[in-house]
Structure formats: structure tokens, C-alpha cells
């Protein structure tokens, strides 16, 4: 390597190749409008210097109060670690990372201008979609989750507002701030993870050993929400006990019969016989989710198996016959769009894992408390 001796003495010379590469990366982009600003990150629109038509989003991670206690936060490190490795059409692409001299990390992410799935679900007035569209979106989500699991990554925060929509209509799984690798056998994991309404019963029962089944439950929640256009398991307030309550009343009460061993879990709360809700039967699922037909309802039901060992795996989801049953999934170009979603991307990316989008109620404190316990 040629060592540059001609640098002006007032500026410290770049010491090495890593610093040069970092600087080159930084100089590739022109930062534009701020799309969103949160406690955790600011998100900017940006484009390539060499080609202004090539758009990206830059997520600049803020140096928060936790830095003194942790250095670079776990959330940022996890997101960078996993996104650097996962390359899949339905997972948000991390083009590169660079630092600025004030020691901020900047994540250069794929530009996803069509908002997120939550915006589509909630806009009941203007956005109309049908079973073919749901099938197309679910297929993309399922592939993304399968790919994560195939690479031994648990996402642990699947929910509609973490599913961003690309210009061509593709769904992209985003926000890997709570992700982790599959643990080795006998290695404990935290049960305090996944946004509450999308969190499976085993985590409320404080299971320390779990698997991809936790993500599958969340996928089921997204599926049901797409069909019903409302949150499937919305306990208010979302305390653990309320969440166990709504899961029991909606899907069935976990018992030793339907989930052998459940009573051994640390956080298990015994339920009196008279209070046990039987597990929702197939015909009930079919009646409630008529829109996706009996085959679709079958898939949904199997994603909601209370016993995580009986829940479908991501691979089994992809092998389910619903995908090949009529109607065919919509083509990308036929999927409904909302438009004006860049700000949504800003909103989504600035959030920290485990946070719910603002519901307009004074829920700020609740959200703060929620993520403060996240690991």
C-alpha cells in the first residue's frame, strides 16, 4: 500500500485501510430529507453521489443514555450483525455501514417507499384487498422467516409495522434489533422479547428454551390481522396476565392435555377446571376466517398450536397446501398500494424493537417501560 506522505500536517492522516474504506463508504451517499426521528435513531432519505436516481435510507443510530453503561448498544450490534449476513429478497437489505467522526453508526438500508403492512391493514376506508393479496404477502413473509431460521436466526419481533413495502410491492422483513442466533442446547434465552400482542404463550410462561416456533406464532398473528383488519390478540392493557387471558379465551387455555409439560414452566399460572376454555376447533377457525377458505384456516390454526412443539415450523408453513390451492397469490404489480410511505419507513426504522406504533392514546410511558426490559 502506498503510504501517503503528502497529507497536510494539520489533518491527522488516515491511519489505515479500514478507515479509508469507511470514509469511501460515507462519501458515496448524499444525505437528504429527514424521514423520521426517534429516541433511538434518525432516518434520512439519501441517494448515491454517482447516481441520484439510486435511493437508499440511512438510519443514523443515536448515542443514547445507555452508552455509558454498554458502549454501542445491543440493539444496534444485533441489527448490524444479522443484516450483514442475511441476503434475501424479502429481508431488508443492508447495503453498508459507515461511521461518522462523531461516532455515530449509519446503516445504509434499502429504500422502501411504500410504507408498511400495518398502514394497509388500518386504512380500511381506502385500501381494499382480498385473499389473493393476503396469500402473496404471507408467502413473502413466510419465505423471509424461513430464511432467517435456515440461517439460525430468530427474529423475535415480527409484526405488521416491521414488514415494509418496496417500490415494486415486495414485502421486506425489517428491524433485527431483537434478533439472536439459535441458542446451543441448554443455553438460556430471555423470555422477555417480541412485542406483546405478537408474543406466544410459552414466553409468557417464561420458557428459557425456545425455537423458531416463537416467530411462527407472530406470523400467525400477522396472518389473522391481515384477514380481520384488526389486531388478533389485543389485550388492553397488555400485561402478561391479560395476554395469557386473551390467548386462552381466543385460542384455548394451555393445559397438560393440549401441551404436555406446560405446567412445569416457571411462569405457568394454574387454571381451575371450570375456567378452562377448550382449544378452538377447526370448524370455528374456518367460520371465523372464511375469507381464506378451509385450507387457509387450517394453516392459520396450525400456526397457533399452543404447544410450540406442535406448531408448524417455517419450512412446514412453506410446504402447506394453501399456497397451491386456489386462488393464486396476486402478482406483485397487482397488490394494493398506499403510496406516500417514505415517512412511514422513517417512522418504522427509528423505533426500537418491541415498541408498538403510537396508537394516539397516551401510551408513551407504557411503551418506554415495555422496551426498557427488552434484551
Amino acid at each position: 500500500m502506498a503510504v501517503s506522505n503528502g497529507l497536510p500536517s494539520s489533518e491527522p492522516p488516515l491511519v489505515n485501510q479500514a478507515e479509508q474504506l469507511d470514509q469511501q463508504e460515507r462519501q458515496k451517499y448524499v444525505k437528504g430529507k429527514k424521514l423520521g426521528s426517534g429516541q433511538y435513531a434518525d432516518v434520512f432519505s439519501a441517494h448515491l453521489v454517482s447516481d441520484p436516481s439510486k435511493l437508499v435510507a440511512i438510519k443514523k443510530i443515536k448515542v443514547g443514555p445507555e452508552v455509558a453503561e454498554w458502549g454501542i448498544s445491543h440493539d444496534s450490534l444485533r441489527e448490524i450483525k444479522f443484516l450483514q449476513e442475511l441476503s434475501h429478497p424479502n429481508i431488508i437489505r443492508l447495503h453498508s455501514v459507515f461511521s461518522t467522526k462523531s461516532q455515530n453508526l449509519n446503516l445504509v438500508l434499502e429504500h422502501l417507499p411504500q410504507g408498511d403492512l400495518l398502514k394497509l391493514i388500518q386504512d380500511v376506508e381506502n385500501i381494499h384487498y382480498g385473499p389473493s393479496d393476503i396469500k402473496a404477502w404471507m408467502a413473502m413473509l413466510s419465505r423471509a422467516v424461513w430464511f432467517c431460521h435456515e440461517n439460525f436466526v430468530l427474529h423475535r419481533d415480527i409484526k405488521p409495522n416491521n414488514l415494509l413495502i418496496a417500490a415494486n410491492g415486495e414485502i421486506k422483513l425489517a428491524d433485527f434489533g431483537l434478533a439472536r442466533s439459535f441458542a446451543d442446547p441448554y443455553a438460556h434465552m430471555t423470555y422477555n422479547t417480541i412485542t406483546k400482542w405478537y408474543r406466544p404463550p410459552e414466553l409468557y410462561y417464561q420458557a428459557s428454551f425456545y425455537s423458531g416456533a416463537v416467530d411462527v406464532w407472530s406470523v400467525g398473528c400477522v396472518f389473522a390481522e391481515l384477514v380481520q383488519r384488526k389486531v388478533f390478540l389485543p389485550a388492553m392493557p397488555d400485561t402478561d396476565i391479560n395476554m395469557i387471558g386473551i390467548i386462552s379465551s381466543t385460542i384455548g387455555t394451555p393445559t397438560e392435555d393440549n401441551w404436555p409439560g406446560v405446567s412445569k414452566l416457571r411462569g405457568y399460572v394454574p387454571v381451575e377446571k371450570k375456567d378452562v376454555t377448550p382449544v378452538k376447533r377447526k370448524d370455528q377457525w374456518e367460520a371465523e376466517f372464511r375469507a381464506v377458505g378451509p385450507v387457509g384456516a387450517d394453516l392459520l390454526m396450525k400456526m397457533f398450536a399452543l404447544d410450540p412443539r406442535k406448531r408448524l415450523t417455517a419450512r412446514q408453513i412453506l410446504e402447506h397446501e394453501w399456497w397451491t390451492t386456489d386462488p393464486k397469490p396476486s402478482r406483485l404489480e397487482d397488490l394494493p398500494r398506499k403510496g406516500g410511505g417514505l415517512e412511514t419507513m422513517g417512522e418504522d426504522l427509528k423505533r426500537r424493537g418491541g415498541e408498538l406504533p403510537s396508537l394516539g392514546r397516551g401510551d408513551k410511558v407504557a411503551r418506554k417501560l415495555d422496551f426498557s426490559t427488552m434484551k
Partner: protein, 403 residues
């Protein structure tokens, strides 16, 4: 139409393959380049060469000034010093009783860091604690900086100071692929073979049944001369006794596991080989007969790539086998090197804590901030910190490693 990704294809998408895999030549060239650049810099700040008159930069102030270019570490010495600190990371990680993946990741961070940085610029004594702390975070151990600092009796700010330099040198790639699970998988499969459950015929790559594989395993000759496994068939026991076969697998695993801990972390094998090649190399060193048999259940004898695979595993085994604990630098040698390093190190990186604080205050390439902005930021930081504490109360000590 449909294309399937093989495991190899997926591995090739990893950052470990794309950025951190080398041939022996390219690895040596990269280190040589980094060393040469550091020496060129040293010639300037030590006041020799290039016709410059030493460091007229009073700004740096604390340069010792008594070093000469002759004091500079050689490339070989630099590498040995880094390896010494890789060993130090192992000891420190074991002190915390952290799982092996933390240790392996931290050691690779250190090795990767010194591919683009010289010890003359950043002495490893000042970086290794940060590399381990960073690895503890990326591998999901939740120990706070203050507890980490307290337990290794180091100032927290000193630990954290090089963090950005490290992840920058890591090119912001944090995943380290490791051979430990693969080795565990080999043990499990061998135990299944020993028990006669080695292969369900339709899934078998060898076309052999479980019973046939068990018989083949029982007929294997003993541990070869020079292999490190201490297993010997117990006198009087039937060779085909499944417990005897299982015992052989356990002993080979234990020896290989030790090899993955020391030589594998203290040599360049992670840069030169893939995780499966590394664990096969370790298994070959432990019990080549058993490892060869195990490989044959995966890769047919007539496979066209067999020769190449064996040669690669053999090269890895040789590299692992050539390592010896006596090769690790002694305390005295380290002290000598570091005394020299102190005289010839780069003065501009001496005060990392100060440099980090200065950068945080917002200098650098974003344009120096005036005092007003800096003050406002400070107030914002304090406010945000205070709000955090009001809401949550002061942070609690973290219990356990669950993540």
C-alpha cells in the same frame, strides 16, 4: 428453473467468506502491507527518514521521543504479540465462564483488527479487553460495562475507548462462523452409528444401513500412531460393543474440542479454512481413523472432490498440529516487546479516551461545532439520561447470561 442453494452457496454469502477468508499468501501480504505502512508512519513520528524533522507537532505532546525506527517491532514480533493477547482473551473469557462462542468471536475480532492495524498504532494491551467486551455483546451475553470493568479491575472508559476503531476495522461485520456446533454434530452422529442407528436407509448418503455402519465402525483399526486420542479398546471387551464404540467417539470429541479451543484460536486457521474444515482437521488430529471413517459416511469414496477435500482438511490438521503451547510468548518476552513498543508507538493514538471524547463532542469531518451546539447537546444528553433514570430507576445489576 428452480435453483437450490447448497450449504456451500449459503456459506459463500457470509461476511466471513467474503471479507475474512484468505490464501496463506494473501494473508501474509496483507499483514506485510499493514506493517510496512506502520513503519513508514513511525519514520515520521520518530524523526527518521523522509527528511522530516521529527515531530514538531507539540500538539501531540507526550511523545517519548527516545525511540528509533530500529526499536519498531518486526512483522513477526507484531504477529506473535497479537497471538499472545489472543491467548489473554481466552484466559479472560474463561475467567468470566462465558460460553466458547464468545471467546472464539473475541479472538477473531482481535485477529481481524490487526489485519488492518499495527500494534505500533494500537498496542493490543489496549484493545483486547474491548474486543472481548464487544464479543460478549454480539454473542448475547449481558454483562454491563461497569461490572466487566470492575471484575477485570480496569477503567471502564479505557475499555470502551477503542470500540469504534474496532468495529470499523471489522468493516462492521460482526458474525464469526465457528466449528463448535459442527464438531458436536459429528459426535452425535458417531454416537448414533455406534448404537446402530447411524443411517435411515433412504436418507443415507452411503446407502448403508445403521447395522452395516455399526459393523464398519467396529471393524476400524485402533487409534493410529501419532494421533492424540488416548482411547484404546479395553482388554476383554467385545470390539462391537456399542459402549466401546461410543467411548471412542467421546474421547476423540474431547481431544478435538481441546484443539478447537487452543490451537484453532491461536493460529490462522479461521482465516484460511471453513468451520467444517477446521473441525474435521481437529478430529483428524485426534483420531484420524475415526475421522476418516466419519468422512466416508458423508462423502463417497469415489467422489471426484474427495482428494481435494482430504488435502484441505490435511492442511488444516497440519497447521493445528504444528501449534504448541511453548510457542506462546512468555511473560518476559512480552514485557520486553512492550517496553520497546512504548518507545516506538504512534503518539497520535496514545490518548484514545481523550480522542473518543473529542470526536463525540462533534469535531471531525462533520465540521467542528461551536460551543453553543456542543453545550446544547450536552444538556440534551443529560436530560435524556435523567429521563431514562426517572422512568426506570437506576439500572439493576444484570443477573445471568440469558439473552
Amino acid at each position: 428453473m428452480t435453483t437450490y442453494l447448497t450449504e456451500d452457496d449459503i456459506y459463500r454469502t457470509s461476511t466471513q467468506y467474503r471479507l475474512w477468508s484468505f490464501t496463506p499468501e494473501s494473508l501474509a501480504a496483507l499483514r506485510e502491507q499493514t506493517h510496512a505502512a506502520a513503519i513508514e508512519r513511525a519514520k515520521k513520528y520518530l524523526g527518521h527518514g523522509n527528511g522530516t524533522t521529527g515531530h514538531s507537532d507539540g500538539a501531540n505532546g507526550n511523545c517519548e521521543g527516545d525511540g528509533t525506527v530500529a526499536d519498531c517491532l518486526t512483522a513477526e514480533e507484531e504477529l506473535r504479540l497479537v497471538q499472545r493477547y489472543a491467548d489473554q482473551i481466552r484466559t479472560t473469557s474463561d475467567f468470566f465462564k462465558w460460553p466458547v462462542n464468545v471467546k472464539a468471536t473475541a479472538v477473531q475480532y482481535l485477529h481481524r483488527f490487526y489485519l488492518s492495524n499495527s500494534t505500533l498504532t494500537y498496542p493490543p494491551r489496549e484493545t483486547y479487553k474491548c474486543a472481548l467486551f464487544l464479543a460478549s455483546k454480539t454473542e448475547g451475553v449481558h454483562m454491563t460495562l461497569s461490572e466487566y470493568a470492575r471484575r477485570i479491575s480496569t477503567d471502564a472508559q479505557l475499555i470502551l475507548a477503542p470500540e469504534y476503531k474496532i468495529i470499523q476495522a471489522l468493516r462492521f461485520t460482526l458474525d464469526v462462523r465457528q466449528p463448535f456446533r459442527g464438531l458436536k454434530g459429528a459426535l452425535m452422529e458417531l454416537l448414533n452409528i455406534a448404537a446402530g442407528r447411524g443411517a435411515v436407509p433412504q436418507h443415507s448418503r452411503t446407502g448403508k444401513t445403521g447395522a452395516e455402519l455399526q459393523t464398519l465402525m467396529a471393524e476400524l483399526p485402533g487409534v493410529a500412531d501419532g494421533d492424540r486420542s488416548t482411547w484404546a479398546a479395553p482388554a476383554g471387551a467385545a470390539a462391537a460393543d456399542p459402549r466401546v464404540l461410543a467411548d471412542r467417539a467421546h474421547v476423540a470429541y474431547g481431544v478435538a474440542r481441546q484443539i478447537l479451543d487452543a490451537p484453532a484460536l491461536l493460529t490462522d486457521v479461521y482465516f484460511l479454512f471453513t468451520p467444517p474444515q477446521i473441525y474435521f482437521g481437529a478430529l483428524m488430529l485426534a483420531d484420524s481413523v475415526l475421522a476418516g471413517f466419519y468422512l466416508s459416511t458423508k462423502l463417497a469414496l469415489e467422489s471426484p472432490v474427495r482428494g481435494k477435500v482430504l488435502a484441505t482438511i490435511g492442511a488444516c490438521r497440519d497447521m493445528l498440529g504444528a501449534w504448541s503451547p511453548q510457542g506462546v510468548m512468555s511473560k518476559e518476552e512480552r514485557a520486553g516487546l512492550e517496553a520497546r513498543l512504548e518507545r516506538c508507538r504512534d503518539p497520535t493514538t496514545r490518548d484514545l479516551v481523550g480522542a473518543m471524547a473529542a470526536e463525540k463532542r462533534g469535531g471531525g469531518d462533520e465540521g467542528a461545532l461551536d460551543d453553543g451546539v456542543a453545550k446544547r447537546r450536552k444538556l440534551e444528553r443529560e436530560k435524556s439520561m435523567k429521563e431514562g433514570e426517572d422512568l426506570f430507576g437506576p439500572s439493576l445489576p444484570t443477573v445471568g447470561n440469558a439473552a
